[in-house]
């Protein structure tokens, strides 16, 4: 591609890795296939796709580097992929295979990648908040300028740990960015049902944490907010709370009857689709043409195809591994 690189095009081009559009498209394709794998019996237990929410993970990760930490949640594949996790090894973990990042011991809700600072997707709602706060404490105590990100949903804002962590991060000026992906449903419970004061941003403010609302369906908006938060954290000015307004198109997990929402509401949100929006802007501003957009879509498809092939052909772990790595054996 021979487009001039400006600030406005930094999402569009393969500068140091895939463009934002390519990354979002890859995540979309990756996540969209999960329900099928569940139906085919390739995935055991629960897996939670984040189709529709791609702009948050990609926008936030744009501001991060490998040495920064990320603590994710149960809907966390996008957080991993956006932080640089390999799609094949991520999927292999979701399918419980030997070549998964955790050798098939973790599965969808426990994908951790130490060299990428990924402290794991997590099966406990809100648990990543404490872990990220700790990673930020480690960064501060060791005198590095690394930062930590906690991703969590609107449901997790009702866990006590968030109140504690906001306060701790604020008094110690910890380099942590609290990213709430407000997708409006805690499994099936609406935010309006579960909180009396739905302006979540005010919760951060109440603890002295600079807090900002952002359109979570706009990757540039997310990225700008994240860049500011990361800059604040790296320069010793402490935490930020980002509330990203977003939506998941698929059910909470495979088999969700979705009786808690209407098809119209889902369609309405699809009108704000983050991938279509970015594609349109790139096209309108002639950064990319139709052929280039198509090439990006094809490349995402190819990437996920090969991830699928890799994961499906990976053997199941050796049963003996079930009994190892519980503790470091120091004796």
């Amino acid at each position: 591609m021979t487009v001039e690189i400006t600030e406005a095009t930094r999402f569009d081009l393969d500068i140091d890795g895939p463009s934002a559009l390519e990354l979002m498209s890859t995540i979309r394709e990756f996540e969209s296939r999960l329900p099928t794998y569940s139906e085919e019996g390739l995935i055991r237990g629960s897996t939670h796709p984040s189709v529709g929410m791609e702009a948050v993970a990609v926008g936030v990760s744009w501001a991060l580097r490998a040495s920064d930490s990320v603590a994710s949640n149960h809907r966390g594949h996008a957080h991993c992929l956006a932080k640089g996790a390999d799609a094949g090894r991520t999927l292999a973990e979701i399918l419980g295979r030997r070549d998964g990042y955790c050798g098939g011991k973790g599965g969808s809700m426990h994908i951790g990648v130490k060299e990428l600072g990924l402290l794991g997707t997590n099966g406990i709602v809100g648990a990543g908040i404490g872990l990220a706060t700790g990673a930020a404490l480690a960064a501060q105590a060791q005198g590095t300028d690394n930062v930590a990100v906690a991703y969590f949903g609107d449901g997790a804002t009702n866990q006590g740990v968030l109140a504690e962590a906001f306060n701790l991060a604020a008094i110690w000026k910890l380099p942590v960015i609290f990213v709430c992906e407000n997708n409006h449903f805690a499994q099936s419970a609406t935010l309006e049902e579960m909180v009396a004061q739905p302006d979540l941003r005010r919760r951060g403010e109440a603890y002295g944490v600079p807090s900002v609302d952002v359109d979570g369906m706009d990757v540039e908006a997310v990225s700008n907010a994240a860049a500011e938060a990361v800059q604040r954290a790296r320069s010793g000015q402490g935490p930020t709370f980002i509330v990203a307004d977003t939506y998941r198109y698929l059910g909470h997990m495979a088999g969700d009857t979705e009786i808690y929402r209407t098809a119209e509401q889902v369609e309405q949100w699809k009108g704000r689709d983050p991938i279509a929006r970015l594609a349109k802007r790139l096209l309108d501003s002639t950064v990319l043409d139709e052929a280039q957009l198509k090439a990006i879509a094809t490349s995402a498809l190819t990437l996920v195809d090969s991830a699928e092939e890799f994961a499906k052909s990976s053997p199941f772990p050796d049963v003996s591994s079930a009994f190892t790595q519980v503790s470091e054996d120091y004796r």
Partner: protein
């Protein structure tokens, strides 16, 4: 270059271990409530005394009362590569941080396929005896010993407190380090040598009965042994010092000699760790036992406040004497 042992109280020994470990590894941090601002500036029982003066408030942090976040942040800091000690004022309060300890730290190595070490020590105190009542006196060590991935240390002497705390901090595994609140002012010789986790200590040698006990119960077993000795029962006392990893071999070889076993702990007897030691011994030493092993523990009741009530629910030296006689098949009760 063995230096002569110093006489130290347990809290001083713990304090010395922290100072020495923080000097040796400048990346280690500790956090907890009132660590530098209480009493003479060393936390509720003085264990962190002068640490902030020596190592600074960046590494020695006073925290808000937020146990859930302290323990999970401790786990996160450790996973991110910082050796972290969290002091929880009373072990009862650790239950507020159960997620960080049990769901996160304990499983971090295993569920991510061995990628992460989690060098976290959660220090606290358990045990009864000083009138702190139901929510400040529990002995909850069995809960943690039950969780795969956690190490559990229960030191009962100043020397063990020093050597085991240093080993716990050096450990790459999350460790629950439970001190005993009634023993902080007990004095003993401290050699300042590291003690590996998973090695029992023979607290008294004897030939007729093996008593396995920790902390306050080791102390009472030693008192009971004096009485029993006068009655012709020679007691050997084993202090496992760590419940996980646990050292059954030392117990087996003792039981092979004495042919009798009694386990005494301050944790509630039912479903307590004593059952684990008894069961292992029965399987391994069945043919060498002269009588059924027995176990003692606290009554199945919360710890009451009033002094006589508190004493009533915890095994006393006299209770241990009685149970010891029953174990060796002598049911005569004599007054202490």
């Amino acid at each position: 270059m063995n230096k002569p042992a110093q006489q130290l109280t347990i809290w001083r020994a713990l304090n010395a271990a922290l100072h020495d470990e923080f000097t040796e590894d400048p990346s280690t941090i500790i956090m907890g409530e009132d660590l530098t601002t209480w009493g003479t500036g060393g936390g509720i029982y003085g264990v962190t005394r002068k640490m902030a003066d020596v190592f600074g408030k960046e590494r020695v942090r006073d925290t808000p009362i937020s146990e859930e976040t302290l323990i999970s942040a401790g786990a996160g800091a450790a996973m991110a590569g910082t050796r972290t000690v969290v002091e929880i004022m009373y072990s009862d309060f650790m239950l507020l941080g159960a997620d960080g300890l049990i769901n996160q730290a304990a499983k971090s190595r295993y569920m991510f396929g061995g990628q992460f070490s989690t060098p976290l020590v959660v220090r606290s105190n358990g045990g009864s005896g000083i009138g702190k009542a139901a929510q400040h006196s529990q002995s909850l060590e069995t809960l943690y010993a039950h969780i795969p991935g956690l190490e559990v240390v229960v030191p009962g002497t100043a020397n063990d407190a020093y050597g085991l705390l240093r080993s716990a901090i050096k450990s790459e595994n999350p460790t629950v380090f439970l001190e005993h609140k009634a023993l902080y002012y007990d004095k003993g010789p401290v050699t300042k040598e590291l003690i590996p986790l998973g090695q029992a200590r023979v607290a008294r040698e004897g030939k007729d009965l093996t008593i396995v006990a920790t902390q306050l119960m080791t102390k009472r077993a030693l008192e009971a042994a004096q009485v029993l000795s006068a009655q012709g029962v020679d007691v050997e006392i084993i202090d496992p010092r760590t419940l996980y990893p646990f050292d059954m071999e030392t117990v087996f070889s003792s039981v092979r000699k004495t042919r009798h076993l009694l386990v005494v702990h301050e944790a509630v007897r039912d479903f307590g760790w004593g059952g684990e030691f008894v069961s292992n011994t029965v399987q391994e030493c069945w043919g060498e036992l002269d009588a059924a092993p027995r176990r003692m523990g606290a009554a199945r009741a919360p710890i009451p406040y009033s002094e006589e009530l508190e004493e009533a629910v915890i095994p006393s030296a006299q209770n241990i004497v009685d149970e010891a006689l029953a174990t060796v098949g002598r049911h005569t009760k004599l007054t202490v």
